[in-house]
């Protein structure tokens, strides 16, 4: 390739007299060529290499969203709707801002084709009303006092597809799930324990109960729940 130098070092006197616009135009050629090179290297090669490495066995499952054989993803959660609300066998997730409008205060299945939260302020009356409504619905469902319902149960997550609930909220749901499914409470508690993850390395993040895994385990124990 022949190399013509377009932005050679300015001859000192000339450069100062060149109009700004013409100097700018002179830089556009190199700029365009370098942006195009960058587009190929950073926009095509770089993601292709990362994608290629993500195909390595052991990584590829995570890379495609951690979808299990049952079709559920352990990474994102969608709240199950009981066929008979009077006999509700499922562990429920947090409210979601993308739940259908028919759902009470966001207590319903998220729409995972998008993501996001309510953006309501902690001082917003609308949020206080939603929290109170969720609290009373959940307290009624679980047969406990409203004050016993933990914070994560009555608040919409940031993503709307948070698969996790706090260990407190899982424990709150154990008696109802055991009663409706007919499983012994100890067995349900054991399933919860299996779906519980501590903090990463003991200190990073918060302990969580993964509801996708937990409800899938319930289905294995009681295949007729659907």
């Amino acid at each position: 390739m022949t190399t013509t130098i377009e932005n050679a070092p300015e001859p000192t006197e000339e450069a100062t007299r060149t109009p700004v616009l013409r100097s700018l135009v002179r830089q556009l050629g190199p700029a365009l060529r370098l942006v195009l090179v960058a587009t190929v290297v950073l926009g095509l090669v770089y993601p292709a290499v990362v994608w290629g490495i993500s195909r390595v066995p052991g990584l590829s499952g995570h890379a495609e969203g951690s979808v299990s054989a049952s079709g559920s993803s352990s990474l994102i959660g969608i709240d199950p709707v009981p066929a008979n609300p009077g006999a509700d066998p499922w562990f429920h997730l947090r409210p979601s801002a993308s739940a259908p409008e028919t759902a009470t205060a966001g207590l319903g299945p998220a729409d995972p084709s998008t993501s996001g939260g309510s953006n309501l302020a902690t001082t917003a009356d609308k949020l206080a009303q939603a929290v109170a409504e969720r609290r009373s619905v959940i307290a009624g469902r679980e047969g406990v006092a409203p004050a016993a319902v933990p914070d994560d149960a009555v608040t919409a997550s940031a993503s709307g597809v948070d698969p996790d609930i706090s260990p407190d909220y899982a424990a709150l749901q154990v008696p109802r799930v055991a009663r409706v499914t007919g499983l012994p409470e100890a067995q349900v508690r054991a399933l919860v324990a299996e779906a519980t993850d501590g903090r990463v390395l003991g200190v990073l993040g918060e302990p969580t109960v993964n509801t996708s895994e937990l409800n899938a385990a319930l289905l294995v124990a009681r295949p007729g729940l659907r």
């Binding site: 450069a15 990362v50 998008t114 001082t123 949020l127 948070d162 990073l204």
Partner: protein, 563 residues
């Protein structure tokens, strides 16, 4: 273990990792920007670009190169978004074609990504194709970061060189920053993120089955490659609307810490690079101390405020993910607004008055705690110049920094850098508030509604890109006004900084005399910190009093009035 104790240990882990990386990364970057030789791959790039890598540019040439490079970037990003309908992978999770991005959104987004802001006035899942994300937006995530580093290094050269007037070669600085720093680090981080559970898929949607047997289409995409550079380059624009709150982008406490670390790594290590290049490591350490004090102080404010959120609205968990809770959300929020990243793992709009106010103030400091890649270093150097000038006025000493005297022209350049952002934020917010359509664009009313507008202009003018997401910004006014704030907030300071670099470089480097204020000392770090706080307090206190402070006082009064 209580969540506070775990949170403090997590903070310790982060600080240890940063401390371990500071020296090798900082020294490496100093070598990158001072080495004489070119790598073979770089020579090939210079040949294709037809640039002379060995020419040493004046400030004016350097600035024009940066402007031309950014202008071409804006055009290309705009065009790719407008033609994405003809390119592959432009389906939503449900399988509908996304089609061309709307002109006003494409315009705003092109400016947003080229200015390292990554403000997103669109919902990615329904608007932006995988090709646009990877080929247009992620490329600018690299390049805008490389530009920021280049400008910072050019300013440092201004201090280093004596009677030169030249400040390096813009093309070389951009190429080296990309090839030797950003690309290798991003590749490693992306692979580690995939191994830790971040998604990297070429599919546009997957079908998921809920426990009840119902099926749902979920959005998915090539996340990990973009996630890595979006944090490392302090960009922040996600492939998914919920950004780093989405489990596909940030699935657990481990990835969360890695992403926080990635935002802070380069801005923090650049203080070492600075010290190395000027030949006095203490100078870099004192700037790092300022950054650490501001970052740590704001972390304490945000964390404490969120931990004491009112129970009646859910104890601070609205808009936060279970796996992050309050400590890991506060740490992310502080770091993403202290750097100019703007990625979020929780929704700042749903933070308490003082927690959300803390993230806002972090940006209003001028993005220097520790700031964006490059932008943080040049912003704090400019504040150091102001501090030296103020101290000089007070005690009658010659204002000089690192052997360069700070005369009228130098201080004028510094003052421009410091004043552009407040002017944009306050004028923009003021204009928005008096326009009739604005109140309909808000999710929240009262002082918090004002915060949503204030935050938007602070985020745009500081090239941060995070949002109080309740504000609907798709009206022509917001699209154009915020794009203007991003553009002017990015390039006016860059031009002033490069002019300053040229002026400093032309000066002889003097030996320190008895009249010289000693920099690189704890006293000087205190002086710079006080200058940051003073400048932003004087400028923004009235506006802050009407928004987060008013909201916080009302909330406190309500709690006090409860039976």
């Amino acid at each position: 273990m209580s969540d506070t104790a775990a949170g403090l240990l997590q903070l310790l882990v982060l600080l240890v990792l940063l401390a371990a990386a500071w020296r090798p990364l900082g020294d490496w970057m100093a070598r990158v920007y001072t080495a004489e030789g070119h790598w073979r791959v770089e020579r090939a790039i210079y040949r294709i670009g037809r640039v002379d890598p060995d020419s040493d540019q004046r400030a004016s040439t350097y600035a024009l190169a940066i402007l031309a490079f950014s202008f071409v970037g804006v055009l290309l990003v705009y065009v790719i978004q407008r033609v994405q309908g003809f390119l592959p992978l432009d389906a939503t999770a449900g399988g509908d074609a996304k089609g061309a991005v709307d002109p006003s959104v494409a315009f705003n987004t092109a400016i947003s990504f080229v200015t390292n802001t990554n403000w997103q006035s669109y919902v990615p899942e329904s608007t932006m194709s995988h090709v646009s994300n990877a080929v247009a937006l992620a490329v600018q995530n690299f390049l805008s970061a490389a530009v920021g580093m280049a400008v910072a290094v050019a300013l440092v050269r201004g201090f280093v060189r004596s009677r030169s007037g030249r400040i390096g070669n813009a093309w070389v600085d951009i190429v080296r920053g990309t090839v030797r720093v950003l690309l290798p680090m991003a590749t490693v981080l992306a692979v580690v993120l995939v191994a830790c559970g971040v998604v990297m898929s070429l599919r546009t949607g997957i079908t998921l089955t809920a426990a009840d047997g119902s099926t749902h289409a979920a959005a998915i995409g090539p996340v990990a490659s973009q996630e890595a550079i979006k944090e490392l380059g302090t960009n922040g624009g996600g492939i998914l609307n919920a950004n780093s709150a989405h489990p596909f982008e940030n699935p657990n406490g481990g990835t969360n810490l890695l992403e926080i670390l990635a935002m802070l790594l380069i801005p923090v290590a650049l203080t070492r690079t600075f010290g190395r290049m000027v030949g006095d490591l203490r100078q870099g350490v004192s700037l790092l101390a300022v950054m650490t004090i501001l970052w740590g102080g704001m972390l304490a404010v945000i964390w404490a405020a969120e931990a004491h959120a009112p129970a009646v609205t859910g104890g601070g968990m609205e808009g936060k993910e279970t796996r992050f809770g309050i400590p890991s959300s506060a740490l992310f929020a502080d770091s993403t607004t202290g750097t100019s990243t703007g990625a979020v793992n929780s929704l700042h709009d749903s933070y308490t008055a003082f927690g959300g106010g803390g993230t806002l103030l972090n940006m209003l400091f001028g993005e220097l705690s520790p700031g964006g890649v490059g932008t943080g270093l040049y912003s704090i150097l400019v504040i150091a110049i102001i501090a030296v000038f103020l101290a000089g006025l007070m005690v009658g000493r010659t204002p000089e920094l690192l052997g360069k005297s700070l005369g009228r022209r130098e201080v004028t350049c510094a003052a421009i850098v410091v004043l552009v952002m407040p002017a944009l934020v306050l004028l923009g917010t003021g204009a928005a508030v008096v326009l009739p359509g604005t109140s309909d664009a808000l999710t929240n009313s009262g002082p918090h509604g004002l915060s949503e507008v204030f935050y938007a202009f602070a985020s745009a003018a500081n090239n941060n890109g995070s949002a109080f997401g309740g504000l609907t910004v798709t009206s022509p006014f917001f699209q154009i006004a915020l794009a203007a704030a991003m553009l002017l907030g990015r390039f006016l300071p860059i031009l002033a900084v490069l002019a300053l670099a040229g002026l400093l470089s032309a000066q002889p480097r003097r030996e320190a005399s008895a009249g010289t204020l000693r920099t690189g000392t704890p006293l000087f770090a205190g002086l710079v910190t006080a200058t940051v706080v003073l400048v932003s307090a004087i400028t923004f206190l009235p506006a802050l009093a009407l928004s987060p402070i008013a909201e916080g006082l009302v909330a406190t009064a309500q709690i006090g009035a409860l039976p």
